[in-house]
């Protein structure tokens, strides 16, 4: 995935309210002089890999495996993710005599930018933290807090003396309001969902997930990293915020370690790049980060920008989590011996019986004034228009990849020959997107107009939040695969239309 420089202007236009103050702050910190760069990560200490402690028990397939992707979009995205989680929390079913909520079955969350705030909060605190998230993050005027910090002379001095940058103000905000000095070690606990907070590597344009395998690649200790660092990196809107700096400790702290077999296989097999260019590029990137022998460009320093630049939907992480043979082994495959498998292996072994993928896209498309004007658009309008295209195109391409994967899984589940263990797998793909509000319904048309006017910033009004919450509930209720999931799990809902659900979300068993 290439990094599109023009994408920056899309962000600039949507975050314009903060630019002026940030420019002032930049000038002042420049005048104050520059301390050495503050790197967020520390090297691995005694081991040469991060330990994965998360493990998801799906009770031999009796429970669904729920995977979520939360897109970027500032507080609008955080609010839509929050509203979806709150709605999922309402649905309960019984498993071996115990009541469970759908939120208890969330196994993986992948996110970008504003979506990362709610993703990390949920991964840390679970459903019980949803009320405090509203109170501590969605209702306060976070933009005002950031602006206050930016104009405070104490902040300028601190930034200048500590080598911190503007993104550190965002990190401090997240930490003070939500994460309270918690680190990734607090997330890396059995039973907690596998969190994939995505940033963008500024130099290469690659998606950079804050996960144990990626931190292995740079020989850095993820457990010691504050959660707020990862979330702030994922939300480092270019120019408005500075990139977050990470050090690559591969050559200094992990010399001579063996390259993982999958990387050498992808690099050395002659057909590899022709059969699957995405896998090849992924291997090549890991190889470069690890300082492979003929690596032409081992980066020593990495600068992280907003994850939305490379994948604003956050679905890249989900696609890898579901389909990669090399994904983290987080699924309990045998409770008796404690063995684990990747999601793909669990699908192939028939351990997973229901897979639910919910993609939450908070993109807002306010009506363009261009289409209402007889005047030829000016340069600024053209730049804005050109800038939005790469991000939207990447999002569409990612969404299409996910659709194809889910279609493949659905088709495979109908297999009758060669004895596949995945026969009968049920697949539920649910898209939550303001575009899907029904404009034929006057109330939904009005609601859509309302949410499309919500700007991308770190502040939303309580009216905004109400509109987003109403939209999330409607979008879930009227999605055929959400209705089908509830039907198949014997969960009732007065909005369920059985024929609509069956026709819109066909399963192999139909």
């Amino acid at each position: 995935m290439m990094f599109h420089l023009t994408s920056l202007t899309r962000y600039l236009s949507s975050w314009a309210s903060m630019i002026k103050r940030i420019v002032v702050l930049s000038m002042l910190t420049t005048l104050a002089g520059c301390a050495s760069t503050h790197f967020e990560n520390v090297p691995l200490a005694t081991t040469q890999s991060n330990v994965e402690r998360r493990v998801i028990d799906i009770d031999n397939g009796d429970r669904p495996l729920v995977l979520l992707a939360f897109s970027g979009g500032g507080s609008r995205a955080s609010a839509l993710g929050w509203a979806v989680l709150r709605e999922l929390q309402r649905y309960q079913y019984t498993n071996h005599g115990q009541a469970r909520r759908l939120t208890d079955d969330i196994a993986v969350i992948s996110s970008a930018s504003g979506g990362s705030v709610i993703a990390a909060d949920f991964a840390l605190y679970g459903s019980d933290g949803l009320d405090s998230f509203k109170r501590n993050f969605l209702l306060p005027d976070n933009t005002n807090t950031l602006n206050g910090d930016a104009l405070n002379p104490v902040t300028w001095i601190k930034l200048a003396l500590t080598g911190s940058t503007r993104i550190d103000l965002v990190e401090e905000l997240f930490d003070a309001q939500l994460f309270k000095n918690k680190t990734y070690a607090d997330l890396n606990v059995p039973g907690k969902p596998y969190l994939i907070v995505n940033a963008t590597d500024m130099a290469t344009g690659n998606v950079f997930p804050f996960t144990p395998p990626r931190f292995d690649d740079i020989c850095a200790d993820l457990d010691h990293l504050p959660i707020s660092s990862g979330v702030a990196a994922s939300a480092a809107v270019p120019i408005i915020f500075s990139p977050m700096a990470l050090r690559n400790y591969s050559t200094s702290n992990c010399p001579n370690r063996a390259m993982p077999q999958w990387i050498t296989a992808k690099i050395n097999k002659p057909l590899s790049p022709y059969l699957n260019i995405d896998d090849y590029r992924s291997a090549r990137y890991a190889y470069d980060l690890r300082g492979g022998k003929d690596s032409h460009d081992t980066p020593q320093y990495l600068y992280m920008l907003d994850g939305g630049l490379a994948d604003n939907l956050g679905v890249h992480g989900l696609i890898e989590a579901i389909s990669s043979p090399y994904a983290a082994p987080i699924i309990v495959s045998s409770p008796s011996d404690g063995s684990r498998s990747s999601i793909l292996q669990a699908i192939n072994n028939g351990t997973i019986k229901k897979i639910v993928v919910i993609v939450v896209n908070s993109r807002a498309t306010a009506p363009s004034a261009i289409a209402q004007s007889p005047d030829v658009p000016c340069i600024a309008q053209m730049i804005g228009s050109v800038a939005s295209t790469p991000i939207d195109s990447t999002s569409n391409a990612m969404a299409a990849q996910m659709d194809t994967l889910l279609q493949n899984l659905t088709a495979a589940s109908s297999a009758t020959s060669n004895n596949p263990a995945f026969a009968g797998l049920k697949v539920y793909g649910v898209l939550v997107d303001f575009d899907l509000l029904r404009i034929s319904d006057p109330a939904q048309f009005k609601l859509q107009s309302e949410v499309n006017q919500i700007p991308t910033s770190w502040t939303i009004t309580s009216d905004n939040l109400d509109a987003i919450n109403q939209s999330a509930i409607l979008l879930l209720h009227q999605h055929p695969c959400f209705q089908r999931l509830l039907m198949d799990m014997q969960i009732t809902g007065d909005f369920i239309q059985p024929d609509f659900a069956k026709n819109g979300c066909r399963q192999a068993s139909d």
């Binding site: 999958w262 059969l275 043979p325 192939n348």
Partner: protein, 80 residues
């Protein structure tokens, strides 16, 4: 992303490894992303040790099929 299909035939039920990672078991069709893989087994003895699998253009009904055999231990010599 299109998925491909692999069937590893072996007289015993054991784990199939692709580039060192577990992807499923023998004698059942498996899903994998397109690509070139080094396939081996987690068994008590099989031959060949690894096989290259090029997964492209397969289907559920026409998976790539590769075969492994059990290593038969040599007969133990008995003293006269």
């Amino acid at each position: 992303m299109g998925m491909q299909y692999l069937l590893v035939i072996f007289p015993q039920d054991c784990a199939v490894l692709a580039d060192g990672s577990g992807v499923g078991n023998t004698n059942r069709v498996l899903m994998l992303p397109a690509g070139e893989y080094e396939i081996t087994l987690d068994s008590n003895g099989h031959t060949p040790l690894t096989q290259d699998a090029i997964l492209d253009g397969t289907s559920l009904n026409n998976p790539l099929v590769i075969n492994f055999q059990v290593i038969v231990p040599p007969p133990t010599k008995t003293s006269p």
